[in-house]
Amino acid sequence: MNRRMDAAVLFIVLGTLIAGLAVISWQTVEGARGLLIPALDRKAESVARSVASLSGEAVGYGIALDELVGADAVLQGALDENPQFAAAAILSETGAPVASVKRSRYAAAGDLQELRSVSAPIVGPSGEAVGAVEIAMPVAVAQALVRDLWVDGLVLLVVAVLVALELTAFAFALPSAQRFRGLNIRLEAVKRGDLRGLPPVGGGGPIAAEIDAIDHRVNKLRARHVRLEREAAEAGDSASIERLGAFAKAHNIAQGSQPAPVSLVAIRAPVFLFFFAEEMTRPFLPNYIAHIAENAGGTSTQLVIAAPIVIFMAIVALSQPWLNGITERFGRARALRTGALVAAFGFGGTAFATNMVELIGFRTVTAFGFAAVFVAAQGFIVDRTDSRQRARGIGLFVSAIMAAMLCGPPIGGIVSDRLGENATFLVSAAMALAAYACAYVALPSTAGQNAVHGRAVRFGDLVTVLKRPLMATLLVGCALPAKMLLIGVCFYYLPLSLSGQFEDSAIGRVLMLYGLAMLIVVPVISAYSDDARNRTPFVVGGALAGAFAIGHLYLWPAPWGAAAMVAQIGIAQGISTTPQSALVGEIGRRIVPDLSEGGVYGVFRLVERLGTAIGPLFIGALWTAWGAEVALAAMAAVVTGGALAFAFAWWAVGRSGTSVEMGEVT
């Protein structure tokens, strides 16, 4: 009934969108194919002519071509400025090269003649050709450009679909849509002869009036039925009572009005947009920090570059326990909106930062905004769900974040390639403002019914939990290194190490694989890991698979090794995250019964998030001191060691109990 309408709307929206985008992508790529290759040739011709003119000038001054000084440097300059060129040469009248440079990765490609090349004559003082300048491009360059366009188009399509899904869900949650759905529900019910009481929809306008009219008629019918039943009972007319009873059963008259369900869907759009804003910065943030550190004249060791990321993560991790209480008192919706505004200011400031102090300052502001939104959104859900609905509610929240992790990096990369990194921060600021606007329109400011008055994590809780070896190895050995690996390797090391050779959009596509893998794997694993026996193998196996993923960097050429690593880490953490979360609850109940479940989870989240801050610090410090290989190997060792320690503790201490809690990302 109601679902059918949703499905129809979704189908129409997505179908139109996909078809439209597919046509536009196809037209763009086909159009580009016809323009790109001639444009490349023209560019090569123009560079060749410019070098030829310079060489001709030298010849005019009486310098013979074979006497030219520094010709290699000029050719190298042309290659450096034009990454598409494979080789460049100055040829004498007889065609013999007097100077030539070749990009090292094409060194094996053979002579210039085997590549597609353009040339320009070197004209001597009396107008005769005395030689030529030749520029060569591998044919694959043009193909690669077209392929990149297709990939960009595909990424945009996937992202557009996800965004459309979020926006559709958001639209469904709006009051006008609710009224429309309410009317639909009533019409379907009446058509079936279902006369149950339905929750009032409220509001004004023609649709609300229509709904009221239907409700009025149905309620009159129901009232009449009650009256008839009463009269029949008073008269002792058992035949009528039986018929009335059968009628009531057939038409659901006995079922009363249910309270209107709380719309949690409304939280998704602001959360999605907000996390999208932060995720957009992933492909280039480390490199952006590096540029600012260098421009400011300071040292830009890897450790310095890691600093703003570490500070951001540390603020997000450490501010969460006390932000929970604050956002509750302040009002979750209001706190979320305020956080979005604060973060928007932070993003905007980051775009204009000129030195490390300003950069760290604005990232700090963003971090507080980020933490506030994160905590307020989670609190909003917890306040409005009971323990049975909570997993589904948190699932909504987590899937919105995962969708953002999937969409943000590639779009951020594309925007930064086209408009620059500073402009991308401004786009992020705009997204945060859009999240604010969404929250303003859709989130009720009233407090939730099920407000859980949780208390902040205390240091004592940390000690209580961590002095149990099983909990300590699960939290410090598995949960913490998992986040260290994600932030330290995927979001700090990779963008920095790939930035010289690849565009931000390519880095964004690599990082997107994490969100993609999680989005696919988590639901599948959640179903399997409901069986408690699977949990420990999933946790240990996931951790080991994550550690071994680093090996891809050394097995395959960039960026494929990086892509394989990110995908494998995504799959590995998709496998371990839900069982890990469930195990925390189970083990907690069993071995620290004196602490509430909320307390155990508080400690778990705190330890886990500290990993996001420690990760870049760990990699940055080792990288600066001993190089990237040592840092990566040490990270793999930490993840492996932690997982094995937990496996050993599990084997030694034993196990029992079952329960499922949703996993969480970031």
């Binding site: 310079l54 060489s55 000038e57 030298a58 001054y61 009486g62 310098i63 006497e67 030219l68 000084v69 520094g70 010709a71 440097a73 000029v74 300059g77």
Partner: protein, 331 residues
């Protein structure tokens, strides 16, 4: 690479490219110009700039004819002419017109009329002003000296070197200051400075008689460039020095336009551009009413690299190909 464009460019003066502006100028400004040796490209640049900016001026021009002692009589004429601005060329004329910063006698020097000076190589050391930021008096101006570092970089770009020869006059303060500068830069720029000075006779006057031998000594010690300082005596006797250097395959480098035909390459402030920069300061004083002591004393930020191609051919020392795209080539 050095920041020099093919055409001589003035750095930091966006105003230069502004189109002619028609302004409602109430009166014609009168500028009294005193040069050292008659009109040069500096005056041409000065006049052209004012014209392009639509500033109506009447310029009264007088030359000291290489003799600064003529300046006092010119100043009498200047006072009678009652100009809006005074313009002076070179250190001797500037000092003879405005006096030293520490002791400007109003009876002897011009103190009540705003003034601009140009072609003063070391305005602070010469005592014209106490600092480049502000003259603290009724004048401002420009200097033509290219700092040592871009010069060394230009030499390095043309032909990398480890030993730099220099031949200068020990009695010229300006030269001593530049050589001291060079000495202090040896370590940072990784070169060794080889020094020779012109012989000073019993009368205290320098002599160029032994110059060819001194050049030969520098060449034997392995000098890869011979640096022609803005040294007055060297400039006057370049014919004793440059041919000897060429004979020993030792390329010369000059920091002044005057020696561009003797050196293999020169990195100079273009006189014309310097005139424009000076005129920009005049405009600030006359049109915008800025006090001269609020206008800093500046040099050009971009310089012209000049390649002496006949000499390059003779010495078979050709410029790097890339340099041709920004250098000015003498043919």
């Amino acid at each position: 690479m050095i920041g020099v464009s093919r055409r001589t460019v003035l750095g930091g003066l966006a105003a230069l490219s502004a189109p002619r502006i028609a302004r409602a100028q109430a009166k014609k400004f009168k500028i009294f110009q005193i040069t050292y040796r008659g009109e040069t490209d500096v005056e041409r640049g000065f006049r052209d700039y004012l014209q392009q900016r639509g500033i109506d001026v009447e310029i009264i021009s007088r030359s000291a004819e290489l003799d600064p002692s003529r300046v006092p009589s010119i100043l009498e004429e200047l006072r009678a002419a009652k100009p809006d601005l005074v313009y002076t060329w070179g250190t001797p004329v500037t000092l003879a017109t405005y006096g030293k910063a520490e002791d400007p006698d109003p009876a002897k020097y011009i103190t009540d009329i705003p003034g601009v000076f140009t072609m003063v190589s070391t305005p602070v050391k010469a005592g014209v002003v106490p600092s480049r930021a502000s003259s603290g008096r009724n004048i401002t101006g420009t200097s033509h000296v290219v700092p040592a570092e871009p010069q060394l970089r230009a030499m390095e770009a043309y032909r990398p070197f480890q030993r730099l020869g220099v031949l200068y006059t020990p009695t010229e303060q300006n030269s001593n200051a530049i050589v001291a500068d060079l000495r202090s830069m040896q370590e940072a720029m990784n070169f060794k400075l080889l020094e020779r000075t012109f012989e000073i006779g019993a009368d205290g006057k320098p002599s160029a008689a032994t110059a060819p031998e001194l050049v030969a000594e520098l060449a034997e010690e392995g000098a890869e460039w011979l640096y022609y300082l803005p040294d007055t005596f060297l400039s006057q006797n370049i014919e004793q020095v440059a041919p000897a250097a060429t004979a020993h395959a030792l390329p010369g480098f000059s920091a002044v336009e005057l020696l561009q035909r003797s050196a293999l390459i020169s990195l100079v402030s273009r006189y014309y551009s310097l005139g424009q920069l000076t005129a920009y300061k005049a405009e600030q004083i006359l049109v915008e009413g800025v006090a001269p002591d609020a206008i800093p004393i500046e040099t050009l930020e971009r310089f012209a690299l000049i390649i002496n191609m006949p000499l390059a051919r003779e010495m078979k020392l050709y410029p790097p190909l890339g340099m041709l795209s920004y250098a000015n080539v003498l043919t």
